[in-house]
Amino acid sequence: MTPEQASKTIKSVLGEIAPDADLDALSPDADLRDTLGLDSLDFLNFVEMLSERSGKRIDEDDYPQLATLASGVAFLAGR
């Protein structure tokens, strides 16, 4: 998965979870949970959908790597 694909995938998933968010204005280094107001259930959905669409297993220990858009892209693209 290229960084562009990873970014697109992440934004698409976030768009479904937080439909009212302005993702274009999302800073790559902003904390996703704080900025988008995701609770633990939202985050679980986020992880689940991301895993589904990227085809990658994401463990709990990986969660910190999904804290921001930039780190998430790096995580997905890096695999």
Binding site: G15, D20, D39, L44, E60
Partner: protein, 466 residues
């Protein structure tokens, strides 16, 4: 069009989930209706076959209008006369006198061979201006008759004064005793779903109480003002916008209920700090080996522990009605779910104390996603016997909440934070959570509240038992 809320007078069919020829069973969700407040699933009250859909998706019609005709799966043929199917409104005039369905476009109704139509009402095109003189309009307003539901007997179908008077005299308004209305309001029971056993079917207080103890009908509360189908089937950002007037309606509903709570309920508060190390360690181990979809969040443990604590301290699980505490036979755990863009709803997880934590987690996820999609069923919105609010994800240390009348207690959880904590005389860093309880001092005293939090703390030390 069923009455889905006390103040609902019309609704929009958002979506049909069935089509003609489909078999439906009593309780099946067959359509989604947008009320002024929320998208609500409409259940069929009959088992049979969809004969035809009378009100197309997208139409807004007054309550009492037939949405569809279901051919009833009668064991024997030709039983009683027509009855209402998908317009189970107890509050509005239903069938015309002859009981024949009269679809204006199709002219004469299709009378299915072998079956019989069990819903029949003139379809009213969305907010067509009724054909009535100002005098008749005035009479209708005075008598509380919706002219859109009246069939005119005058020239060119004009509605006459006597049509209005007949409509007003028709068995439209629920026959409910004043006491039953008060009890229903206290319990938040939707009267339209209560079966009356009094003379002529009048609903009396005991009918309402029975309905509650049977885990029954919808309790009146606010309903989610979410983006309905758009959120459920996301098309893109442009469809995801909440209608401001709905948000306002929800705000008003919250304002009313919370004002009532603070006005009527003498709250007392107790709080505690609980070491979550054991629970989190257990959870991490469990999640490591679990499928992704089976992973649990700490909230699931907190909810389960709350449900068990409520069962062990039953004085906090129930309702304050007519100056008495009425214990609830089961724990239906209300979960405060905040909605994007403001507002919140508190759907209930039924029999939460009896569910394994993993199942509770599944229910929680389902409930949260449906709540945010505005797809919560009425009974879920109204059956809670005790409520939990968890603002830990928002980073607050603790929350002391406002009780949902007529419940008598509300548990609150803050954020799990690592802090210095002495155990056995040794200072260490432990994940801690602030637990709180707001309780109704009419029903219990601080001692009971303290006991509840102590039980809760103990339960959280044994996560494997949850």
């Amino acid at each position: 069009m069923p009455v889905l809320g006390a103040d609902m007078d019309e609704g929009t069919v958002l979506e049909w989930l069935v089509k003609p020829g489909d078999e439906v069973h009593k309780g099946d969700v067959i359509a989604v209706v947008d009320t002024a407040k929320s998208a609500i699933d409409v259940e069929s009250f009959h088992t049979g076959t969809i004969e035809r859909l009378v009100t197309p998706a997208g139409d807004t019609v007054p309550v009492g209008t037939v949405l569809a005709v279901i051919r009833e799966a009668t064991p024997g043929a030709g039983a009683a006369g027509p009855e209402l199917a998908v317009a189970p409104s107890a509050g509005q005039p239903a069938a015309p006198a002859d009981g024949q369905p009269a679809a204006p476009a199709a002219g004469q109704p299709v009378q299915p061979a072998g079956g019989r139509p069990i819903a029949a009402v003139t379809q009213t095109p969305a907010r067509r201006m009724p054909n009535a003189t100002p005098v008749v309009r005035h009479a209708a307003a005075e008598l509380g008759v919706d002219l859109a539901t009246v069939r005119g007997s005058g020239r060119s179908g004009a509605i006459t004064r006597s049509d209005v008077e007949q409509a007003a005299a028709a068995p439209g308004r629920d026959r409910v005793t004043p006491l039953a209305r008060r009890v229903a309001a206290d319990l938040g029971v939707d009267l339209s779903a209560v079966t009356g056993t009094g003379p002529g079917g009048v609903v009396r207080a005991d009918d309402v109480r029975r309905a509650v103890s049977a885990g029954g009908p919808a309790r009146e509360t606010w309903q989610p003002a979410a983006p309905a189908r758009e959120a459920r089937q996301p098309h893109g950002p442009e469809t995801i916008s909440r209608r401001p007037e709905k948000a306002e309606a929800m705000r008003h509903a919250i304002a009313r209920l919370m004002s009532r709570s603070k006005r009527e309920i003498p709250h007392y508060y107790v709080s505690n700090t609980v070491d979550m190390a054991t629970a989190l360690t257990w959870l991490r181990e469990r999640n490591r080996s679990a499928e992704m979809s089976a992973r649990m969040v700490p909230a699931a443990l907190l909810l389960k522990a709350t449900a068990l604590a409520a069962r062990q301290v039953p004085e906090l699980n129930g309702f304050w009605i007519e100056d008495h505490f009425v214990p609830a036979p089961s724990v239906h755990l209300g979960v405060a779910i905040s909605l994007r863009g403001g507002g919140l709803i508190t759907p209930a997880i039924h029999d939460a104390a009896d569910l394994p934590a993993s199942e509770l987690m599944t229910r929680l996820r389902d409930l949260a996603s449906r709540a945010r999609a505005g797809r919560v069923r009425g009974s879920e919105l109204t059956d809670a016997t005790i409520t939990v609010t968890n603002l830990g994800d928002q980073g607050v240390e603790s929350v002391t909440g406002v009780i949902y009348p007529p419940q008598v207690a509300l548990a609150g959880f803050g954020k799990i934070t690592e802090r210095p904590w002495a155990v056995g005389g040794l200072l260490g860093v432990r994940p801690l959570i602030a637990t709180t309880l707001a309780a109704d001092h009419r029903a219990t005293d601080g001692y009971t509240g303290a006991r509840f939090l102590a039980v809760l703390a103990d339960l959280l030390q044994q996560p494997e038992e949850l």
